[in-house]
């Protein structure tokens, strides 16, 4: 079904609808996510982009990296704007004025999706618009210079949750947005990682073929904000999956399925150590911070496994 014949050879022959030459930082995870989405589909696409790194860096002065119709609206409005566009399209199709099958995709960073844009996203999902919302989650407001968001993991050092002698970075765990979206009862919600490209592209492909509201949350390493090396994006998005910090799963029609189970669940240190934003956690005396992070990941992973087990459809 979903994983048909996804080979690199075949994908390399596809037209680039998100071109090179954009101004995203070198080693950024977000453009990889967009590229994978574009490769997943042959449908004509209309893209809406909430304010954020991706938006400001892909359409600069008289240049654009988008070879598809592209709409930017303020931070909080991508889902609402696209809902309007999609409604108009549906009406035009009904009237017979358009016969093409067009797909609608919204991109937002975690600030524009988890925080300020959550209301309009939730509204779009509940109303049942036929669109796919993709959040590229780099775990902070990177565009304005690394401020904490509700996607920032516990303990992370950001400019508005700074590590001091008393307060050690962000004190709250991150919001589980994928679960919140799945709780809307939408036909498809999933989590993906650019390192597992086959899994990610399959999910994008599947989502675009399903009618109704879809949501996919994709981890997108940011070397500026994560204080990691510029060539670590894939390594870190893989480590996020292998440590089960970022499990790959999908919730289709209410049924949770883990799409990739690491052979060996790695300790969170593998994900945290290469990142400067967690440096203080490795200082002597801060072992409890690491333990707290691990406990948080374990709890979420166990819960996800339990859910997946409970919801597995019985074999005929």
């Amino acid at each position: 079904m979903a994983t048909t014949t996804l080979t690199l050879k075949e994908l390399s022959k596809k037209e680039d609808r998100f071109t090179h030459g954009h101004r995203m930082c070198s080693g950024c995870g977000a453009p990889i996510v967009v590229k994978q989405l574009m490769l997943a589909s042959d449908f004509p696409l209309v893209v809406a982009n909430a304010t954020g790194c991706l938006e400001v860096s892909t359409c600069i002065s008289e240049y654009t990296a988008w070879k598809v119709p592209w709409i930017h609206n303020a931070f909080e409005n991508a889902a609402a704007t696209l809902s309007g566009v999609e409604s108009m399209y549906r009406s035009l199709r009904k009237q017979g004025k358009i016969d093409k099958e067009i797909k609608f995709v919204a991109f937002g960073g975690d600030g524009g999706t988890y925080d300020i844009g959550l209301q309009s996203l939730s509204g779009a999902m509940e109303r049942g618009h036929d669109l796919l919302y993709i959040c590229y989650d780099n775990g902070a407001y990177m565009n304005t210079g690394i401020q904490r968001s509700s996607a920032t993991p516990i303990g992370a050092d950001t400019t508005t949750s700074p590590v001091g002698s008393v307060i050690k970075g962000k004190t709250q765990p991150r919001k589980n947005l994928t679960r919140i979206m799945a709780a809307h009862g939408i036909p498809y919600a999933a989590q993906a990682s650019p390192a597992h490209w086959r899994d990610a592209i399959s999910k994008f492909k599947k989502a675009l073929e399903i009618k109704g509201p879809k949501f996919i949350n994709v981890i997108a390493p940011c070397n500026r904000g994560w204080r990691s090396s510029t060539d670590d994006a894939i390594l870190l998005s893989r480590a996020a999956v292998d440590t089960c910090y970022w499990p790959l799963y999908e919730v289709e029609d209410g049924v949770t399925r883990i799409t990739y189970v690491p052979k060996e669940k790695k300790p969170v240190e593998e994900f945290l150590k290469p990142q400067g934003r967690f440096k203080h956690m490795f200082a002597p005396g801060n072992e409890h911070l690491l333990a707290q992070f691990q406990a948080e990941v374990d709890r979420e992973w166990d819960r996800l496994n339990r859910e997946a087990r409970e919801q597995t459809p019985e074999k005929a």
Binding site: T51, H72, A74, F75, E76, G111, D115, I116, L118, Y141, T144, G145, Q147, R148, S150, T159, T160, S161, P162, G164, V166, I167
Partner: protein, 391 residues
């Protein structure tokens, strides 16, 4: 006194802390993000609280909530965030809750240009929320040092008037690095003209006095005050009442408590070369006023009879500076002309009122002097493309 080479955002942070601000809720937006960042590390050191809201509307609501809890609170943003304040701003005005708001103007409309100064919110700061029936207090500094002073002053006025006060700066003021002196004692604060007013607690029984009385402490929840605080039209006791007579009393209070006590802040302006009834008066506020002041000084040296009025208190609008019939020129960082409309309204009938607009870029001294010459010779500015229409 300690001197720093620092940004306006730094100066405003220190000013707020000097004024007793111990609560800041913000949301990232260029060019006010650094203020939130500075507050996130400075406030915990001072025993205060920093919270990042999920958007600007939440940030100001958090501040209003904190103010109701007895804190002096502040938030900061730029144009696209300021419009999201509409709801909590109205609540703070209506329920008379003191809070300080910094708006660092960038180029609009919409997201516009983030890293360039703009003055598109002159009228928005007058009417930051719906419904009318209120006056707003707005202060506009033109340097980092003055931004600190006006932040302190904003807290002072917001406490005495029980109302939100906006400090309207722009990108160059908040982002620019300047020489900043921070007072280190009460004596030094007094020396620098910093006034502070402590947070007092309204012990009732009235929610608000029916007249234009000021210095009535704001409502604070808890402290056994049994206070009510509602978003509807309140009675003097604080009960909800959707009734025209009560509304009239409340509206009268919101308007006249400010209008009748202008003397508290109407000294907030700067006049240069205004003593000899100049033939041309240049009006400005914020960053452009710095270019205007230089241009007027130079023009005087070459014999042009020009004077400058710089507004620091923008709202309520100080009509008294524009009583004389002469030529006026408003220099603003927008293309539509906002301040010029108020000058035109305040100036005597048939006064010549001109406008030079720009956005993102400041006008140059040379350009301004040329404009002064043209106007003094009775020529129009329109041919230079400065004026979109003749005023």
């Amino acid at each position: 006194m300690k001197r720093y080479l620092e940004t306006g955002n730094f100066a405003i942070t220190e000013g707020a802390i000097l004024a007793g601000c111990r609560f800041f809720a913000g949301y990232p937006i260029t060019p006010a993000t650094e203020l939130a960042e500075a507050m996130s590390s400075r406030l915990p050191q001072e025993g205060g609280i920093f919270i990042q809201g999920e958007d600007e509307c939440a940030a100001l609501h958090l501040c209003v909530g904190a103010a109701l809890g007895g804190y002096k609170a502040m938030t900061a943003t730029s144009g696209p965030g300021y419009i999201l304040y509409a709801d909590p701003y109205g609540w703070a005005i209506g329920s008379e809750i003191p809070v300080v708001i910094l708006n660092s103007g960038r180029v609009g409309p919409v997201s516009g240009i983030t890293g360039a100064p703009g003055q598109g919110e002159f009228y928005l700061t007058r009417y930051p929320t719906q419904g009318g029936n209120f006056e707003t207090i707005v202060l506009a500094p033109n340097s980092a040092q003055e931004a600190m002073a006006m932040t302190v002053e904003a807290f002072y006025l917001s406490e005495r008037f029980r109302t939100p006060v906006t400090v309207l700066a722009d990108q160059l003021i908040t982002d620019g690095f300047e020489d900043i002196s921070v007072p280190e004692s009460d004596g030094e604060m007094e020396e620098m003209g910093f006034r502070t007013w402590p947070r007092k607690i309204n012990r009732g029984p009235e929610f608000y006095p029916a007249m234009d009385e000021i210095d009535v402490p704001p409502v604070v929840l808890g402290h056994n005050t049994g206070a009510l605080c509602s978003d509807w039209t309140p009675t003097e006791e604080g009960y909800d009442i959707e009734q025209v007579q009560a509304h009239h009393k409340h509206a009268y209070r919101l308007i006249y408590k400010v209008r009748n006590h202008r003397s508290l802040f109407n000294h907030l302006y700067e006049k240069n070369f205004m003593d000899d009834d100049p033939d041309l008066v240049v009006v400005s506020y914020g960053t452009p006023s710095r270019v205007v002041n230089t241009a007027v000084k130079k023009a005087r040296q070459s014999g042009l009879k020009v004077g400058a009025v710089r507004l620091i208190n923008l709202w309520p609008f100080p009509d008294e500076h524009f009583r004389r019939k002469t030529k006026y020129l408003s220099v603003e960082l927008n293309w539509d002309g906002q301040l010029v409309r108020e000058v035109q309204r305040a100036a005597p009938k048939d006064s010549e009122v001109h406008f030079i607009g720009s956005c993102g870029d400041l006008p140059t001294v040379t350009d301004l002097i040329e404009a002064f010459e043209r106007l003094l010779q009775g020529q129009s500015l329109a041919r230079r493309g400065w004026e979109l229409e003749e005023w």
